[in-house]
Symmetry: C2
Subunit: 114 residues, 2 copies
DNA sequence: CTAAACCCTTCCGTTGACGTGAAGGTCAAG
DNA sequence: CTTGACCTTCACGTCAACGGAAGGGTTTAG
């Protein structure tokens, strides 16, 4: 599929997809015309990227993670033990952020009050 | 108190405090020398600011909220009903963000696996 | 009285994930 | 064969919350 269709399927823009490629997150093939050509699994990959981005992970970190998450949806990663440390830190960071959000939401609740 | 002491008390920097003032979040007095002079309650105010910032609220929104949160710590805001809508939306946004973080953390957990 | 430490304003720099044209090739349909 | 939608590569712009340096007054400890 071409870039426009993938963008529509994933609710993003061609510009963002080119950016992901520039950051090493996607490696689409090329046609003779130069147009990018994405395989169907790219949709899943892009959704993963969006999810991890929204969690505050940077593109560099995601670029390390993605090769450990094969095409299938709910797959574990048996073969990237070097990343476990970093992933655990990211996990902790996410948990911290959630706690902070809960605290701030409590403040809002106190302000909203009745 | 002067800016350096307030910065130490709140774990931030003079630069950040000047920025908050620039955005209308703080209004310290001035001495003849031009030095900023903060009242003791400023410490509480700054902590509120930090908490709301960490929740993803922008300085403009916080500037609207602050006048509704008098000096006392756990006070409600009876007198700003116009903000209730916006605050409710921010609250919803925070909840959404937390859900997204939980989802992303689940992805990480699946990757970390064993 | 002097030196260190602190403060002032002004202004430009940073970081990340894109947005926004510009100038031009490509492709399916009428 | 031409429109119009889609694509390409630059390359600069944006937004938020500050960081940092320049150039110069102020306060305080010795």
């Amino acid at each position: 599929m071409r870039i426009g269709e993938l963008a529509r399927l994933t609710g993003t823009t061609p510009r963002a997809l080119r950016y992901y490629e520039e950051q090493g997150l996607l490696r689409p093939g090329r046609r003779q015309s130069g147009y990018r050509d994405y395989p169907p699994q790219a949709e899943h990959t892009v959704r993963h990227i969006q999810l991890l981005l929204s969690a505050g992970l940077g593109t560099a970190t995601i670029a390390e993670i993605l090769p450990c998450v094969p095409d299938g949806a709910t797959v574990l990663a048996p073969k990237c033990p070097e990343l476990l440390d970093g992933l655990a830190r990211e996990r902790a960071r996410i948990t911290e952020t959630m706690a902070g959000l809960a605290a701030a939401r409590n403040v809002l609740d106190r302000i909203i009050g009745a």
